[in-house]
Subunit: 244 residues, 2 copies
């Protein structure tokens, strides 16, 4: 039998945000490959082999998935959120680049609800105008580039979604991010901290930049920074469709 | 009975990309409100009243939805893609701002698969690094601001998703966009045109900026411009997780 590799997004956590397309792909998989907590979200069944690996092992995980597919298995690589947004799809293509003999493999990517969209929906419509998404981790890019992108994003008056804002290994970067944002946007700009969106541990809070503290974010948090027009209406946060 | 308003995203077109959460909301609605082709995607059933309106009538549509909910109806406003990305959620909160007596209404937003994520998945992982989303319509913002954002986005080396690139009413803006991008990114940068993604009319093509022509886009197209590292691997397009 010819193998295949499908890279899927499980959404932010709640089962009701897994698309039927992704559920169907999981139902015919022989092998599921992914980071331990994401693989844990896939129902076990007879005939399904699971390959769970640690964080920061993306490239090894992608290579394993390619090898299994090349050996004829029906492989699903699971990501949280959307696989193409700071998740496994890019790692799979990087591994494919290193394996020219596998370029003809049947590889597909199935989209999912990425964290910023789930978080935005929970509070209203803070991404309702032009916006950008920046991964604050400097594991794969120099920190100076992150700072530069933050300043240009504020210059462009984008609403900004910040992924991977803070971890035990990187405690200082997000504190610096808040400094840059306060300097560039002023103290009144709205910022939403959305932790573990749609899971039982969900915690969401919107404050001003003056009130924001680094400890409000961790690796399970996505942070949404409003543009200059973002405001409250009733219990909601929204960014108008019009320019400020 | 207390009314409610739920703003949902139907995804890019294919039914298998409608989340179970959105399907559940539609199954208990008494009224569905939306732009004609999106309302057409909702299955008719007894007890469901549909309110279909023309494009560019977003604010009137949002006000109607608020009024129906205030009158005790279970209202679902449908958008294509994600309701918070250049769609109806922001218009609903704008209408709410104009109706302070309705601020206590039960309003929720349910996320969906937005066009750029579906398009990106189809070709690989072109949004695999930091990226931005820009609405090219200048109906609600000055064109000079769009040009400024395009230049800053290229400066930041974001991958760029362009929504509403071109319409009969706005034939020149996208031609100008291609000029700006060619000047700022050079002729070899990859650009993906994804029309009517996941529908029977889907047409997707990736070319270089040198080869790109304005006629390759229309209002059903989302355009993805790679960053400086975006490249082909086998049949796929991807942006590495590392900085260029």
């Amino acid at each position: 039998m010819t193998g295949s590799l499908v890279v899927v997004g499980l959404g932010p956590g709640d089962l009701s945000l897994v698309t039927p397309e992704v559920s169907a792909a999981l139902s015919v998989a022989t092998d599921v490959v992914g980071y331990i907590p994401y693989v844990a979200r896939v129902a076990r069944r007879e005939g399904l082999t699971v390959h769970a690996s640690d964080n920061r092992a993306e490239l090894a995980r992608a290579s394993l998935a390619l090898d299994l597919a090349a050996a004829g298995r029906q492989v699903v690589v699971v990501s949280s959120g959307d696989p193409g947004v700071f998740a496994m799809a890019s790692a799979v293509f990087e591994a494919l680049e290193n394996a020219p003999d596998l370029h003809a493999l049947d590889i597909r990517v199935l989209p999912g609800i990425t964290a910023m969209l789930a978080a935005a929906a929970r509070v209203g419509a803070p991404l309702g105008h032009d916006f950008c998404a920046i991964n604050l981790s400097d594991n794969l890019k120099p920190w100076a580039l992150v700072e530069r992108r933050l300043r240009l994003a504020v210059d462009a008056d984008f609403a900004i979604a910040l992924y991977n804002p803070r971890s035990l290994r990187r405690p200082f970067q997000f504190a610096r991010t808040l400094e840059i944002l306060r300097e560039a946007c002023g103290p009144e700009r709205l910022i939403t901290f959305a932790r573990a969106v749609t899971t039982p541990e969900e915690y969401i809070d919107t404050v001003t930049l003056a009130e924001a503290r680094p400890e409000m974010a961790d690796m399970r948090t996505v942070v949404l920074v409003g543009n200059s027009a973002t405001r409250r209406v009733g219990r909601h946060i929204y960014t108008p469709r019009h320019a400020a």
